[in-house]
Symmetry: D2
Subunit: 332 residues, 4 copies
């Protein structure tokens, strides 16, 4: 249940009521709310006098629900805004991993040259095997920050586990919570305490309901700037790396109020399918696209098979514009 | 292995060689071929003198493989053609089931009024429960045939099992092999003996490899007019009815030479997501779209929740044209 | 809804009531029942005077439901009986395919020598690829029938599609409906018209609910002798061929009244795991086990990797007896 | 590749060689090994003089592989030992969550009264929703430690994320890495630096290969005491909570050298199936069983539906002994 408190209630009052009721207290758009679990079906007696409005839910998809906020939330990412009425589809490009200064500078210049704004690059790689490249860590974060300073790009990188989440929050403009880390409460609770945008990737074995519940951890903890990212689920089909769940995207658009970004690169796992899938995603009317591109994919230290080279990436971006336009959206 | 026979070999010779070698014999584009399984890696001694060319395969995706025919096959459906260089995306519309003359006449007039050419409607419903509506059977087939005669539409309906496949072949312009029937060799072998187009739906538990192997049954048996239809696979996600596998569509486009039609209605299972998904499908550059529409979905005898009403369908078709155009395709 | 008719109602009366009510009419244990879909929640007005008892259901699992018959049904297979209070775990052994008279005679003698009663062997193979061995067909059926006559064994073989179901019903003692054919209404309706036992295998993409609904087709059509067979479902895990669903077996034991046989060979796909899995199955207290064994698996024409040789099979059967005994069951 | 170093190599030498070769260095059973990724197929030139023996692998399952150590590893858990030649099946019982001193004392006394040795109880619950009970945290850990001191039990509890892994290592006798945390390198690296046994649960969307690779993180980091726990994977079947993958257990027994414990409670999700499944698990010849039991499941703060009450648990344990005995194992 979400209870909107009367406008006369102070922050301190609200916090005390929250503690008393074992509820979360958040402020959103100048209004204060208490949020309890979906088990609570009636306004508790001790809160009746303070409640201005309330919403009852059948499950724990609450703050993210389109029943609570029927219009999509707006989230500002660096100089651009997505969601709300913006009709913007933002492109996040760059390599799977930050591998060297030369590689990331080449990538940054390239993204900039296409008139795009967001640069991605992994620093702490959530590799399945201990014998694979694990990322440059803090050195990678510093390189990304340098790209922001030198090229005016907004940078985004991924937290692998809770041990380095504070570094990520410090250096990155957008905090990416990876598919393997999205149940990690150490990460989610830290993300709730910043106001930086948080992009949560769906786990490959995660239901839509659980996926949005991960967002609820961040929203209920006080950070309204949450973006969902669908990147493919694991199914019986192994001809492709994962299965991009666009039916799920329709579900998210219907049932939630959060901006949605799609990652066709990881879903497909092979460069040959990325362009077709990217166009399919854009035609759905989405808030953004995450596409891996590497100056030379053949030498990439991770996900070599799915990264586009720069020519392929540039051709793809050109082809996306008329598709976006055909559904009333803008590629930015 | 596929062996192209020398042009001097007669039909009778070829048939004898096929029997001798336990291989299939087909004629395609005025050439004769023998097809053995992928286990055969070298031209057998008894065939060397007759072979003009040959292809070796690592699996039993052979006649459907883009390694055998690198360009997409063209298939004629009534008055329209898909595949090849046509850049046509054909729309197949109509109700889930043929329920009555009034319902199917309304549907036929509607499809015609939009300038579309293909009318679908189930007559033998592959229902999971014996207690559900099972379709009008032969009466339904006759109604469909009447729509062809009265409105000049091309009609398509589904075979549920081998007991009525001859009726379907007689009355329907396109033979649809349903998701639950696509392993049915009684159906596939009958489809191989006609030259009518055969649309094979992917089983919801079927790998891409197995899906194309079902097409091989029809191709190797002598009917080159095969169309693949992706309609969603069964995954752990139950928020939507199935999961439309567009990564799989990329795989099919890369690895096969068959036209591909998509069915977002069955995949989604809910009308609210069908339009977004249909636009996504069209943006991939596909050969057709199968969309369920009913004059009044609320009283439909099957799949009530996923069928569009006629207003929704008309709006959808209008919105598909600019999307198709943005990727160089035409909605027909 | 299931309605038990008063004992005074004749067969003819019952049939007329069924037609009038668009319901199924069956006789079971000397009582007559009408069965309508789960949508019917109250005894219809025209049937009130004839109803002795009735059961309401929330889904179309009705005749198979433990809510209708709380005790497990007994099914006679040749000379042995399973289900009910018998505590029998019957072993069905034999090769994947009948390949030759020599091979099936060797198999029959072997099964007999172990004191077992049931011989399996495929004649119409539901192969995924047209280029694989498709079975001996009617010749295979005749060989199986000869084994019954010569060795007193009960034989079981599989229907691939509806075109040869009458042959199977004529020659085989138990009709096996394969995993790829279990939605085939041509087969299911034919099985409903015989009184021979029908063993229905779960499709690898089939939910438990749908699986039991296939059994409802046979039960509602008049044949009470239905056995369920779990043989592994398709999941993201490809280290093994399928995933044997023993949680599903617990569900079936709780929610249905049908005997349950397990097939660890197809689930595992590799001989090395079959014995451990077979012991696990038996420890659940089940009605039977289907194990593939071949005189020489290395030359088997289908499923070579998962068939046990005769030594392995004999060792396995010996090891199953104490396990069955530890849970109060008998291997027969 | 794993390289066994000559016995004359000192710890310091080995460490230097490891750094020089970007490899891991471990000591196991008085021998020193260097471990590089599976990409390395030949002993590098700089190591040839120091190599006594070596193993080449086709994937990154190396230290855990039965190709490296063909016999199962032995792991000591408190006073008991599993794996190796022990033929012990250890029972780990107790509530899903530690909820109060009274509840855990009742549980501890109960486990003790049955002659069992291991008590489980969650303190940091990896709940999907922020609105559910999150566990008692450090207070819970202290209660568990008290149970060890007061009743001589070995205690096991789960790390949810890396923020509290040091507390878990300090208070718990066995470190459980939960299904949602098994990719968490913050946790895995910490586990590698202790010598306490680490029980890694398979993620519900995790392949067998990835599952064992998580174990490789701990093994390669220096802790040989790793136990695998299969607890059900997520499939399309939703009639049960998850699908217990016993085919996967056969695969693990064949391909790895690690002890294996099974958790039928989480897999099934319903108390009614737990006993049958537990007997199935034991009949496979496994190293342990994890069963949730609660003094009063109806008031449990988490997983209420799947926990057994104490009577059910006691009956189950009695029934497991003859099953274990029938396959040559002992319940301890």
């Amino acid at each position: 249940m979400i209870i909107e408190l009367k406008s006369t209630i102070t922050a301190e009052n609200a916090e005390n009521l929250a503690i008393e009721s074992k509820a979360f207290h958040i402020k959103y758009n100048d209004k204060r709310y208490l949020i309890a679990g979906s088990g609570v079906k009636e306004v508790p007696a001790n809160l009746i006098d303070f409640a201005h409005n309330h919403w009852v839910f059948s499950n724990d998809l609450q703050l993210a629900s389109s029943k609570f906020l029927p219009t999509k939330r707006e989230v500002k990412i660096g100089n651009v805004t997505i969601g709300g009425d913006t009709k913007n589809t933002v492109i996040i490009g760059g390599p799977c991993s930050v591998e060297s200064e030369e590689q990331i500078v080449t990538s940054a210049k390239f993204i900039k040259s296409l008139g795009l704004n967001l640069l991605r690059g992994g620093c702490y790689k959530p590799r399945t095997s201990p014998y694979s490249f694990q990322g440059l860590g803090l050195d990678g974060l510093k390189l990304l920050a340098k790209m922001r300073d030198d090229y005016g790009l907004t940078v985004i990188t991924e937290a692998r586990d809770a041990t380095h989440i504070q570094e990520i929050i410090e250096y990155s403009d957008v905090i990416q919570v990876g598919a393997k880390a999205m149940y990690d409460q150490g990460i989610l609770r830290a993300c709730a305490k910043t106001q930086k945008p948080v992009l949560i990737k769906r786990g490959f074995g995660t239901t839509l309901q659980e996926f949005v519940q991960a967002a609820e951890f961040v929203l209920a903890g006080g950070n309204p700037n949450v973006i969902l990212c669908e990147r493919g689920i694991r199914t019986f089909e192994t001809g492709t790396r994962f299965t991009l769940d666009l039916c799920g995207v329709s579900w998210l658009k219907e049932h939630t109020n959060l901006p949605i970004i799609l990652d066709p690169s990881h879903a497909m796992g092979y460069a040959y399918g990325v362009a077709d899938l990217a166009r399919a995603c854009v035609a759905m009317g989405i808030d953004g696209l995450l596409i891996e591109a590497h100056p030379d994919p053949s030498v990439a230290k991770s996900d070599a098979s799915q990264q586009l080279n720069h020519d392929q990436f540039e051709t793809l971006i050109s082809s996306l514009k008329p598709v976006a336009s055909s559904v009333g959206y803008n590629i930015i």
